[in-house]
Amino acid sequence: MSNYQEIISQYRPLLEIIVYGSAVALILVGLYAVLVKKHLVKVVIGLSLIDSGVNLLFVGVGYVTNHTAPIFSPGYENAADRMVDPVPQALVLTAIVIGFAVTALALSLVIRLYRHHKTANVEQLNRLRW
């Protein structure tokens, strides 16, 4: 454990690139799917990827090197100043659940659309326009 912590503090900028970078990259890949892919399911996959990226960003922002998870396990009752920021984690909990709710709703819409329009192509969903 300590070895891990040391390395992390040593390579903080690199880790920033890894964590923030993968978070942003996830968002971008998801956005790409949303913007370019034509299949409805792919679009929803893109949305869920974006959500994942944002969640990672949240947790990454809350992280503090060499600090522990914000849980006061027995024997660590006074470790408050050595804990990572718990607020983003709490927010991410909410965000994940909400993201799931939205994804479920979106997928149900996809099913309905497929039944109604007999297609899963985004471009063909343009009965309502202008």
């Binding site: 939205v102 659309l113 109604h116 329009h117």
Partner: protein, 493 residues
């Protein structure tokens, strides 16, 4: 502490959880319970509004932790006015939709009623909350209900509209989350008052990025120009009470959020020009699209977007008079546009045809509904002596004080477009070839009461605007007073 703002949210929540149970016991529970809740909300908000205007803003602490640590609900004069509006409109819309889908039994109606009720509750939450992330949660509540309601009808293209709404809404919530996170990293807080207090110290670059993200997301909700592709579809495909609620409940909340973020969290001066220009573009494009519509509800939807654009312009101008105008406009828009949707949907219901050309001579069949529709159409265009005139006039006055001649001319030119298509519809209703077929679906008594009360409100506010002017002035002053907001929340005695 008999009543407090949290009642406004807790009551619908409890009712929403309870409705599935009650529905098992009593068949029509799902129809009745929301009405009771809305009535309760209306009474509570009247009491609270009185209290706010007599003895200053109410800060309600949730879970016993003082701000900025706990979540707080805040009722400033500004939010109080909108709370009252939303409660009232929610009640009226419930009344209107009381006999909605009378033929459908059981579960489906229950889903509809729960969603419709929670949309109002979520909007109230957006208006009342003093916490940024909490606002996100309520935005999601309204978003999910709105999407589900949009896709409610199976025989229309509801799912398509719902999917578009879902896509835009998801993007909006992603940006909202990013903005909130950015703000949190810089200020270490989620409480709006504390953020507002600490914002000046934040580096400009990050601040502007956060602002952009928040504007994008709230702009999507508020139907800002390039972000409003969902709006016409959602408005036109949703069940009629929902369309009315989009204008009267969601729109109000969205404009509130925009105002709160623009005026309290950030410095208004920096986004004044942006809001004005985008508001004008919203209005321009919406009305240009509206005049070419052949579908009644879609036309009304575009017109809604136009009104939201006007509200944004007023927020952009940002003087006290402009905010007064904006508030008045929001009230008018809520009342009048709901009336338009309500009466318009009776046309559609009777004709089974959403096209404008089908409206020819409909007044023979539905004289009273036609009258209400025409009244609302005249009012929303801004003809005196109806209430729509005063809001438009006040916004123009504010623009005139700032010597924004091009803006004034622009707004009025767009209004000419708006007037053209509304009066065309009136012409169709009354003067096109007549039909003699009798009405097959007369409006129910509840719907008539709802619509008539809105019409009376339009006329009363038009003839005697001073009825609410005092409240609105106080509200708009308070919105401009950022320091008092911060003080009120953070320094509770």
């Amino acid at each position: 502490m008999v009543v407090s703002p949290v009642h406004l949210i807790a009551a619908p929540l409890a009712a929403a959880f309870l409705i599935p149970l009650l529905n098992k016991l009593y068949r029509d529970a799902a129809r009745v319970v929301p009405g009771i809740v809305f009535l309760y909300n209306l009474i509570v908000s009247i009491i609270l509004v009185n209290r706010v205007f007599q003895s200053g803003p109410i800060v309600e602490i949730i879970a016993g932790w003082k701000p900025p640590f706990g979540i707080n609900l805040l009722m400033t004069p500004f939010s109080a006015v909108l709370t009252l509006l939303v409660s009232f409109m929610a009640f009226v819309i419930w009344l209107y939709g009381f006999r909605f889908k009378r033929s459908l039994k059981g579960g489906v109606v229950m889903y509809y009623e729960i969603l419709q009720m929670m949309m109002a509750a979520g909007s109230l939450g957006i208006i009342l909350t003093g916490d940024l992330f909490n606002m996100f949660v309520f935005v999601e509540i309204t978003g999910i209900t709105a999407i589900a309601l949009t896709a409610f009808y199976r025989d229309r293209d509801g799912a398509e509209a719902g999917f578009k709404y879902m896509l835009m809404g998801s993007l909006a919530s992603v940006f909202l989350l990013l903005g909130i996170l950015l703000i949190y990293t810089q200020t270490g807080s989620l409480n709006m008052a504390q953020i507002a207090g600490r914002m000046p110290a934040v580096a400009t670059g990050v601040k502007i990025t956060a602002l952009i993200f928040l504007l994008i997301s709230l702009g999507t909700e508020a139907e800002m120009f390039p972000l409003n592709g969902w709006a016409p579809d959602a408005y036109s495909q949703a069940p009629s009470p929902t369309s009315a609620a989009f204008a009267a409940v969601l729109g109000v909340a969205a404009i509130y959020a925009l105002a709160r973020v623009g005026f309290t969290l950030f410095d208004h001066g920096s986004l004044s020009a942006f809001l004005t220009v985008m508001g004008f573009l919203t209005m321009l494009f919406a009305e240009m699209a509206a005049i070419a519509q052949t579908n009644l509800k879609r036309m009304l939807a575009y017109s809604s977007m136009g009104q939201m654009g006007l509200a944004m312009i007023a927020l952009g101008i940002g003087t006290e008079a402009a905010l007064f105008g904006a508030l008045f406009l929001i009230i008018n828009h809520a009342v009048i546009k709901s009336l338009l949707f309500m009466s318009g949907s009776y046309f559609i219901y009777n004709l089974n045809d959403k096209r404008l050309s089908a409206l020819n001579g409909i007044h023979k069949r539905l004289p009273y509904v036609s009258f209400l529709f025409s009244l609302a159409a005249l009012a929303i265009v801004g003809f005196p002596p109806f209430s729509g005139f005063w809001s438009k006039f006040y916004i123009l006055t504010a623009a005139g004080e700032r010597r924004m001649l091009p803006l004034i001319i622009g707004i009025l030119a767009v209004t000419v477009i708006e007037m053209t298509y509304y009066l065309r519809v009136i012409g169709r209703i009354y003067f096109a070839k007549e039909e003699t077929e009798p009405a097959s679906h007369k409006p129910s008594i509840q719907a008539l009461v709802a619509m008539t009360s809105l019409a009376v409100l339009i006329i009363v506010l038009g003839l005697y605007p001073d009825l609410i002017a005092g409240y609105l002035h106080k509200a708009s002053m308070f919105l401009l007073d950022k320091q008092t907001y911060i003080q009120t929340v953070l320094h509770l005695s």
